[in-house]
């Protein structure tokens, strides 16, 4: 179980070096993305001004405070609370995110399904689990909301965060066909019968 510090963006070789059970800390840049962001990007044909090649996206919609745009802050926002949402709803966007936009890493909670696992294997990608509902802590890893795109979707805009020491995150799905979620689900299915028998409900 290795620990990786990744300065974003990364190469295909770097993402394929990640194995389920490894831990990762991200540095420099992270993009925030959500249901509406991806519905508009992939179902309504909208394009982003950001180059996402080699980058990581996190399933989020942050709490932000409006501020004046100045210096390196091109977004006009500062963080209040940034955390992670359930990934499963965004399952069908994994492959287009990777194929069209070049994304290498998806960060989320609760895991993605087989289609995403296939995309990670085919195209070179990984899913990193962050602890959902630990947003106060996660916010301390975010330095600034550097820029924003598709902001009519607020709070489901596409955000560019500047990050420092973002992690540790757990590699939960890798480019080699392994998924911790699939393993846990299989184990739960295996235990189900004994649990129901004990309840007198088999």
């Amino acid at each position: 179980m290795a620990h990786h510090v990744l300065h974003m963006p990364i190469t295909e070789e770097q993402v394929r070096a990640l194995r389920v059970g490894d831990t990762v800390t991200l540095e420099d840049t992270l993009f925030g993305i959500r249901d509406a962001t991806q519905i508009h990007m992939f179902d309504h044909g909208r394009r982003t001004k950001f180059d996402l090649h080699g980058h990581a996206v996190i399933h989020t919609a942050p709490n932000l405070r409006k501020v004046e745009r100045s210096g390196t802050n091109h977004s006009g926002y500062e963080p209040v609370c940034i955390g992670t949402t359930t990934s499963d709803r965004m399952e069908r966007f994994t492959r287009p995110l990777m194929e069209r936009e070049g994304v290498r890493i998806i960060i989320g909670k609760g895991g993605l399904r087989d289609g995403s696992l296939d995309a990670f294997r085919d195209l070179g990608g990984a899913y990193l689990a962050v602890v959902g509902g630990a947003a106060a802590l996660e916010t301390t890893w975010v330095q600034a909301v550097e820029d924003v795109d598709l902001d009519d979707l607020n709070p489901e805009s596409l955000y560019k965060f500047s990050i420092k020491g973002f992690g540790p995150l757990l590699v939960a799905m890798d480019a080699h066909g392994s998924s911790l979620y699939a393993a846990v689900n299989a184990e739960a299915a295996r235990r189900r019968q004994a649990v129901l028998e004990k309840l007198g409900a088999s």
């Binding site: 609370c81 609760g110 309840l199």
Partner: protein, 302 residues
């Protein structure tokens, strides 16, 4: 004929301005400070968890509770769907219409003035008014209690990851209680890590379809340590609590013993032809806040 007050006892009058201030305060407070019973629930799970990854995840969740309090920040970025329970005691005078308006005003002010993310949109256009309000939202549940001159306002910011883990099945009498148990176990498996475990699994048994789902929500948002007042319901929640924690789903669905703090059951009488069961899940950030209005003043709690 005047039956508004008992002779000689001044009713408790609660002004809409006080409700509005309380609604604002409670929404923000609920998002920041976890109730003591949930903190104790974390300590209990941490003490018994045997899986190494699960222990690390629980430690991060416990650390987050401290960070939120120290930095006066939100526990979770999901500000949820705002739910208010209004419990009106005896000999209380309140303008019900003004009370509903005051709750919405307080919610909108919390959203703009803190600021909080407005997580509420029109169901078809998906338009966000950035007030955390919309048609029939905040959800307001009004009930009456036997507490003398007391009005209690409870606020629950219900997170969506766990709210999406809601299930209803109109079972039939021939299915029996065994099918109720199977339904709960199978829905917990189906929800997996998506509902942000460790959770409180709320189960409604009986009633009508809508009452059954409401009971599940009441169960999911009840304090840890509380028991179903119906003896059969209490037996069921003890059995199911043990059962779901035997599935190995664990914190965040990444494996372990700590799948749920507890399974809570609420029951209601039902029809001779019916056997409804509903599941509504509360995530580990099981947030609540309350304000109790009495003649002595306002008490803020959970």
């Amino acid at each position: 004929m005047t039956l508004m007050t008992k002779p000689g006892v001044e009713p408790l009058r609660v002004e809409p301005e006080a409700i509005e201030e309380a609604a604002k305060l409670l929404y923000i407070r609920a998002c920041k400070v976890l109730p003591d019973d949930i903190k104790e629930g974390f300590a209990r799970l941490d003490a018994t968890e045997t899986d190494a990854t699960a222990k690390t995840i629980l430690a991060t969740m416990i650390e987050n509770i401290g960070v939120a309090e120290r930095m006066d920040n939100l526990l979770c970025q999901d500000t949820g769907i705002p739910i208010f329970n209004v419990l009106i005691g005896r000999n209380v005078q309140v303008d019900g219409w003004a009370l509903k308006e005051a709750i919405a005003k307080g919610t909108a002010r919390a959203t703009r003035e803190h600021p909080l993310r407005s997580s509420v949109v029109h169901p078809i256009t998906r338009k966000n008014e950035h007030t955390s309000c919309g048609e029939r939202v905040p959800v307001i549940n009004i009930d009456f209690t036997d507490a003398e001159r007391e009005l209690r306002l409870e606020m629950i910011p219900k997170g969506s990851g766990s709210e999406n883990g809601s299930f209803l099945q109109m079972l039939i009498p021939a299915d029996g209680v065994a099918a109720v148990k199977r339904f709960v176990v199978d829905r917990v498996i189906q929800a997996g890590g998506k509902v942000c475990p460790p959770t409180i699994v709320g189960v409604g048994v009986g009633g009508t379809s809508d009452l059954c789902m409401h009971l599940a929500k009441v169960a999911a948002t009840r304090p840890l340590g509380s028991r179903c007042t119906d003896a059969e319901g209490a037996k069921l929640e003890a059995e199911l609590s043990e059962a779901v924690n035997g599935l190995g789903i664990g914190p965040q669905g990444l494996g372990g013993d700590s799948t749920a703090f507890a399974v809570h059951v609420e029951t209601a009488a039902t029809h001779i032809t019916m056997n409804p069961v509903a599941v509504n899940i509360q995530c580990h950030s099981a947030r609540r806040a309350s304000a109790t209005f009495t003649p002595d003043g306002i008490r803020i709690g959970f």
